[in-house]
Subunit: 333 residues, 2 copies
Amino acid sequence: MGWTYEKAGISLAKHWEMHSIAREVIHELSNELGIGLVEGGFTRSINLGNYEVTLHTDGVGTKSMVAWSTGRLEVIGWDCVVGNVNDIACDGFSPMALTDYIAISSNDADAVGKVLRGIRDAALRVGAVLLGGETAIMPDLVNGIDVSCTVLGIRRVRAVGNAAPGDVVIGIESNGLHMNGYTLARKVLLGRYGVNDEICGDELGNWLLRPTAYYGDLLTKLYGRGLIKAAVHVTGGGFTKLRRAIGELGVELEVPEPPCIFRVIKEVGNVGWDEMYRVFNMGVGLMVLTSEGQVGEVTSVIREAGFNYWVLGKVTSSGGISILMPNGVKLRL
Amino acid sequence: MGWTYEKAGISLAKHWEMHSIAREVIHELSNELGIGLVEGGFTRSINLGNYEVTLHTDGVGTKSMVAWSTGRLEVIGWDCVVGNVNDIACDGFSPMALTDYIAISSNDADAVGKVLRGIRDAALRVGAVLLGGETAIMPDLVNGIDVSCTVLGIRRVRAVGNAAPGDVVIGIESNGLHMNGYTLARKVLLGRYGVNDEICGDELGNWLLRPTAYYGDLLTKLYGRGLIKAAVHVTGGGFTKLRRAIGELGVELEVPEPPCIFRVIKEVGNVGWDEMYRVFNMGVGLMVLTSEGQVGEVTSVIREAGFNYWVLGKVTSSGGISILMPNGVKLRL
C-alpha cells in the first residue's frame, strides 16, 4: 500500500469539516452583528469608509520542520508573507500591513531573527508594513518552530465577471512545493533520503526549501487590465482549490509533466496520482481563468512577468475536475 | 532552589531580545516603504483614509495544554479574542474584524469546534466579525493545540495626555491567571496536584481555565470621557508591562494581597516574589493611569462596570517599578 495524506496523519475530510465549522461561526457572527461580508474565493472582506478591507491568515505548515533542522529559516518568513499575499491577490486585494506569529520550542533568538529577515524581504517585495507580532516560547507544546502570518489587504482591482463554460484555464509555474503537502513529502522523502542527498539535479534540502513564488504583482496587472475572471492559488487541497473559482461547474485540463521532485514523491511513496493532485501543486502554483478571446493577452502579460505557463484546458458546465496527464493517466478529483 | 520562568524553559531576556529584533525589522520596513507608523504602548497603527487602523496578534500560550488535557477548549477561543482586544483597547482601538490560527496535533474537528465556539462568544461580546482563519493539522510539530488570533482595530478614542509624576495608578481585578505564565504555573502546580484536586476553594482545573476578563468596554468608556492617560494590560512580563505607559518614569505601588492561587504557586514552587510579579498578573489584570483630580470619577466608572479595583500608588519621576506588598515585602522590578 502506498502513502496517502491520511496515512501521514492528515485527513483532508476532517480539514474540510473544520473549515465548515468555521464558516458557520463566520456567518452566525456576521448575522448577529449585522455586519455584511463580501465573500471571495480566498477571502472575506468588509467595508471600512471608502475601502474594502480583508484580513487573511495562513501558516507555512511543516515546511518549518525542514527549515528548523537545517537552520535555513529565512524561507519560512518569506513564504508566510507571500503565501498570504498570493491568496488575497487572487481576489483582487493588495497588502497594506501584516503581523506574524511564531511559536518556538526554545529561547533561540537567532532562529527568530532569521524568520524575521525572511518576513522583511517579503514585506519589502509586496509593499506591506509589519505592525507587530507575537513570539511564544513554548518548549512543551511545539517541536521546533511554527510560523503563521496575517495580512491586511485593501481592494485595488476587481474580476471582470464569473467563470463560465468555455472559459480557458491557464496554469502558471510554481517554484517547488511552495508550502503545502510537507507532512506527506517529509515522510516519503526523508524516510529514504537525507537533506544533502542529490535528487533531480539538486540537494533534497534545496528542493524542500525553495521559496514560494510571488504572484501578487502579476495578478494585480491581470485584474487591473480586465483580463481575468478568477485566480486560484494552488495550496492546501492542490488542484481541488479550483472549486473556489468554478463552484458547480467543471474543468477539463491537460496538465504538463509534473516536475521531477513530484515524480520522486509519487514513486518513492507509491502515492496515487489522484492523491498527488489533491495534495501538491504539481508544478502549477497559480491558475487564472479567462475568456477565450483574451488568452493571447493574458499569456503575454504572464510571459512579460517572467513566468512559464500552460494553457491547461476549459471550463465545462459540469463534471468536476478532470485531469489528463501526459502519460495518458486520467484523473477525476 | 525555587522555580523560575527560566528554569521552566522560558527566558524573558531572550523574549525581549526577540521583540527587539522584530522592532528593528518593523522600523526598517516603515522607513524603506515610506509608510509612517503611529506607535502606541501595545499597538502600532497606520492611516487608511479617515481611519487609523491597527493589526494585533497574540496567542493563548500553554493555557491550551490544560484546556487540551481536560477537553475544555472553549476558553482558549474566548481568551484568544479577548486578550487581543484588551491589548488594543489600552491604546484606544476598538475591534472590527479578526482571524484565528489553530495548529493541532490530530484530525480532531470537535476540538476545533469548541475553540471556534469560544471565539464566537468572545467576538459577539466585543463586536467583531470573523473574516477567516487557518487550521493546520501538524502531528509532528504540535503537542495538542496552539491557538492565536489577529484583530483589526480602528481608533475610537484617544488618551488625554502622557503619564507624568504625580499621576495615580489604579489596578483592576483579573479573573485568575488570564493567559500568561502557564509554562511556570503548570510545572509548579501540576507537578504536585491533579486538575481535579481542590485548591483555594475550587478545583485546580477551574482555576487554570478561568476566562480572561474583558476590559474593552471599560477602557473605551474611560478614554471616551477623557478620564485616563494610559492603560496597561498586565500580560506577559507581569507588572513590568507598566514600562509601556511610564517609559523612563517610575511608579511606587502598594499592591493588594495576591489571590490564593498565586500564593500557592509561590509557595509550592518556592518562586521569588519578584519573579511572581514579573510573570503573573497577581490579581491585577489591568492598570489605568489618571491625574490625581480624576481618581474619583475613574473609580466610579470602574465600579459601575462591575470590577473591583485598588488605588495602587503614584507615578514618580524615576526609580523604576517599586512594589510594597501587604506582608511588608518590598520589590523593585
